[in-house]
Amino acid sequence: MSRGDIFIELDDIVKVFPGVRALDGVSIKIAEGKVHALCGENGAGKSTLIKVMTGVHARDGGDYRIDGKTVNFKSTKEAIDAGVSCVYQELSIAPQLDVAKNLFIGNLPMKGHIIDHKTLYEKSEEILKFLEMDISPHMIAGDLSVGQQQMIEIGRALTRNARLIIMDEPTSSLSEAETDTLFKVIKTLVEDRNMAIIYISHKLDEVMELADWITVIRDGKNIISKAKTDFTQAELVKNMIGRPLENLYMKEPAEITDTMLEVNHLTRDGVFDDISFKVRKGEVVGFFGLVGAGRSEIMRAIFGVDKYNSGEVILDGKKLKGGDPAKAIENGIGFCTEDRKKEGLALKISILSNMTLVKLKALSHGGVVDRVAQRRAADKYMKSISIKAPSVNQLVGNLSGGNQQKVVVAKWLLMDPKVLIVDEPTRGIDVGSKSEIYSILSDLAKQGMAIIVVSSEVEEIMGVCDKVITIAEGKKTGEMAITPELTREHILSCALGTETDFSAETDGEKKEEVKENG
């Protein structure tokens, strides 16, 4: 077969979950040697569609053909054998196994009945080289960064003679450099190996760069499907959310008053070093740096989940004792973590319970939970950041990836803290809801909350913050006010550590001019 030939067809696919018609007649055609992007809001049905394609879910209606023949995969194994491989939205690394065994999971090279370890490690080396990863196949997967683990999952698809590789939000935890590598890899696969790729992402500039063909789905139905060249990004957004989006970032000026949070010389040996800053009421401070620079670790220390060696955290004039998150919450610090599955959510309980978890004390009278108030509080955020679920009683584990993330965000918004720390608040969230979250943050600041936003997206930082602090390798390399003059490049070079700029440091401890070292 040759490039552009259609070999996989899905017609009118229907998938029903209790209370949800997740797919309601979706059709899609996949051609060899092309990148096919799948776009849609959180809960539109993207992940469900690909799970139907890979045999995780059985379809409830419609036809699924490969090379003209109808297929009914009963397991992922059958789909893999038929050439359909997938990198799922949720990481599925076995953290205690080594890299090679993770790459060849379920598919170890054999010599007769015996595992061929020599080939296993040799082939793994090859794949790692292809992925431009400078690690040994003997490394234990759990020791790798999240980005590297994601790359391993992508490598996994390469070990399987796939004809189609599906990637569900592969870049949500990759650094910029890793994303570049991934794009290079995708281009090689498509151009040299004539593979087909289905690419799902909420980062629309990525979609616009990579895709040959774009399909938009909403509420489990096809909205539009055409060549990338016929799309503009604005048009894409409009089709996704059903209305034009004028302004993604809606930052309204807030009154910035007294210092709320003061961090002095915070140090954790080998992780971050001598971090000082202040956040005032009504102020939104962004923390920017490369993945692994230590931003999240600083926040974890402030919140008390990690210990620190020296320094102090002062909240509203009161010095906090470190290492006690319960106390931190009580004192009014809210922390919306980056890793939602591990740290932010209980997957087997309802949206309602998850959302009101940290707020429970305020919602109860003498130890008895006020169910009505609880329900009202949850309902409010279900609507305002449009969490897509049949009811607040739905189990969080049944939500789409983006909607799970929204529940975490809602939980902390609900708590109404004095200082709110949000770590990558919009990872995996569609554009429409992103703008909702930004406007909520802006409102909260206007009401006098002090807010810290940790992000790996410069645009996000520039769009929602009053000032940005850059962190490079655990050290503070800059503190700048967000002004129209501030450039993206300047923030980036501070985050790389090649420049420093402390022009916005308050109290003038060490006001320095912009200086160049690189």
Partner: protein, 343 residues
């Protein structure tokens, strides 16, 4: 662009150093049972009078109970637990004795009695293991609760079938074979060799076969296994059956050791396998450990008990020390894991 490249290289280099260090710490942590064993043996040989004369017991007693520890390890590597190993083994011992006596009484052929008896013991163990497996992987009962319950059931079976708390074989044909000293070495008996063969076999199975390799994946991340086309419930079921068969083998070994099926051995065995497996370095949470770890764990536990019986300590004190050792190992594990990679 250029900046990014340079940065990437620097980060990669730093990463590499870091990972090397992490790997070294990890290796030590994963294999700390070697250190424990060496230290214990050192203390025993230097500090305990008479240990030079009694250490061969470490080998003999290890062989007696060791095989079911391997079986339990398989279950635990898959992320489950089996608390019914003790009475499963005891019951298989009873079944061996009944079969042997029956055949010996009717034919007078003790070799035939041993062979058929062994087969019956293994099948019995496998069936009881499969029973655990069905309740846990098909019905979905938690392995902890399920096997506490089946342990009671198997205890009941022992009582019902044995009808006595001490059921001897009618002709003591196996103990002389089992305890035969190869090359005149007191520690090298057929039982020890059988145990070592089981260790080797289990190790090779897990290292070299596709099926054996699944255990780690399933225990480590069941979801990932399922997505990779590996059936979690089938794999877990297999481990319960294998654990049962190995418990059956242990039942046979216990009879071979003492010439009788003894009711209380179900209780004596009790939590011993779990202690061995954990001390050896198999994780409670699954995904980690090899047959060699089990071997080390069994040797450690047996060194401790041999040391203490050489010093004529009471069972109570032995239990106390064993418990403390177990806790020390678990604390050391916590300590090193928070120190290493901040997982």
């Amino acid at each position: 662009m250029e900046e990014k490249g340079v940065k990437k290289e620097a980060a990669a280099a730093e990463n590499a150093v870091d990972l090397k260090k992490i790997q070294r710490v990890r290796f030590l942590k994963d294999n700390n049972s070697i250190l424990i064993l060496v230290a214990l043996l050192f203390v025993a040989f230097i500090g305990v009078d008479g240990f030079t004369g009694s250490w061969y017991n470490v080998a003999l007693y290890s062989a007696e109970y060791g095989i079911c520890c391997l079986g339990l390890a398989l279950v635990m590597i898959c992320g489950n637990i089996d608390l019914s190993v003790g009475y499963n083994a005891a019951f298989c011992g009873v079944m061996f004795v009944i079969t042997f006596n029956h055949i010996y009484n009717s034919t007078g052929n003790s070799a035939l009695g041993i062979i058929v008896g062994l087969i019956v013991a293994l099948i019995t163990g496998g069936v009881l293991g499969a029973f655990n497996g069905v309740i846990i992987t098909k019905v979905g009962v938690s392995p902890l609760i399920a096997t506490i319950a089946t342990n009671y059931i198997y205890e009941g079976l022992v009582m019902n079938f044995a009808k006595t708390s001490f059921a001897p074989v009618n002709k003591d044909a196996i103990t002389p074979i089992a305890k035969y000293q190869i090359f005149g070495l007191r520690w090298l008996t057929p039982m020890v060799i059988i145990f070592l063969l089981f260790v080797l076999g289990t190790y090779l199975w897990m290292h070299y076969t596709r099926y054996g390799n699944r255990l780690h994946i399933v225990g480590d991340n069941p979801e990932a296994a399922e997505y990779a086309g590996i059936s979690v419930s089938k794999t877990a079921f297999t481990t319960f059956v294998l654990c049962g068969i190995m418990a059956g083998m242990t039942g046979f070994m216990m009879v071979a050791f003492s010439g009788a099926a003894i009711y209380t051995q179900g209780t004596t065995l009790g939590t011993f396998p779990i202690s061995c497996v954990i001390i050896g370095g198999v994780k409670m949470t699954g995904g980690k450990g090899t047959a060699v770890h089990v071997l080390l764990g069994v040797l450690i536990m047996r060194t401790v008990s041999t040391m203490m019986s050489t010093m004529f300590w009471s069972t109570n004190r032995v239990n106390l020390v064993t418990g403390l050792l177990l806790i020390a190992v678990l604390i050391a594990d916590r300590f090193t894991s928070t120190k290493s990679a901040d997982e």
